[in-house]
């Protein structure tokens, strides 16, 4: 078995696609219409286009417990998932300039540096740099 896809629940797939591509710099990989209001929509890292895909899934809009879970994580400030960064401070500066808001500014945590931002789709996402 291989890890090929990780899912991130999003409240609005189109808004999520814009945020993950235009702000974060990911590339759209697969976009398949499934119904009037949902798509199989994945993005990949520009530096690792054959690597794991992120599935931007609209679960919170179709399954109430998913919405409750997502909201509870968000309100507690807990990241839904995390992305690796070569330089958290540089990514923080770049994203802040693009209007992205952070609940945790770049902070050293032992052997890593972390920062947490709002993906505007219902999730906190953590950036991690290994020190």
């Amino acid at each position: 078995m291989k890890v090929k896809i990780i899912s991130i629940p999003v409240l609005d797939q189109e808004a999520a696609l814009q945020f993950y591509t235009e702000k974060l710099g990911f590339l759209k990989k697969v976009d398949v219409p499934l119904s009037e209001h949902s798509r199989w929509l994945t993005v990949v890292s520009k530096e690792d286009q054959d690597g794991p895909e992120i599935l931007l899934e609209p679960a919170p809009n179709h399954f109430e417990p998913a919405k409750v879970y997502q909201r509870a994580l968000f309100e507690a400030g807990i990241p839904y998932t995390q992305f690796n960064s070569n330089n958290v401070q540089q990514d923080y500066d770049r994203l802040v300039a693009l209007g992205v808001t952070f609940s945790v500014k770049p902070t050293e945590m032992g052997t890593v540096k972390i920062a947490v931002f709002n993906d505007t789709c219902g999730n906190n996402i953590q950036l991690v740099e290994m020190l």
Partner: protein, 130 residues
């Protein structure tokens, strides 16, 4: 302060209070990052940090969750992928990442990546031309 911030503050205070130990493992990791193409072993790494090799082994595993040897292998495989993707020959890649034997390099690469270095390089070329 959010629940998450409270928790990471607590973890930082309880798990990462010893800055000297952190400095040791972080500088060891950086040394590996900059010398992965050389012959590296625990004796050398501990000598660089003026510490006992078993102490260094324990610290590195404690903070990074893997041994320096495991980390070095990960680093070499990651660099091998970059070099092969850039068109470097398999044999040259083998030597450039610190391996002495192409056959042991190919065996390890296949074990870790799932395909041989040659197949990996062919796939990279195919993907670029697609």
């Amino acid at each position: 302060m959010t629940y998450y911030l409270t928790q990471i503050t607590r973890i930082k205070e309880t798990c990462y209070a010893n800055q000297a130990q952190l400095d040791t493992v972080i500088s060891t990791r950086h040394y590996i990052d900059h010398h992965y193409d050389k012959e590296l072993n625990l004796d050398l790494l501990s000598h660089v940090r003026f510490t006992s090799k078993f102490h260094l082994l324990r610290l590195f595993k404690k903070y990074y969750g893997q041994t320096p040897g495991q980390y070095l292998t990960d680093k070499r495989i990651e660099k091998a992928k970059e070099l092969l993707d850039g068109g470097r020959s398999v044999t040259q890649t083998c030597y450039d990442i610190g391996f002495e034997s192409p056959s042991s390099f190919c065996t390890l690469f296949k074990h870790r990546v799932g395909i041989t270095p040659v197949a990996f390089q062919k796939r990279a070329i195919f993907t670029k031309s697609a």
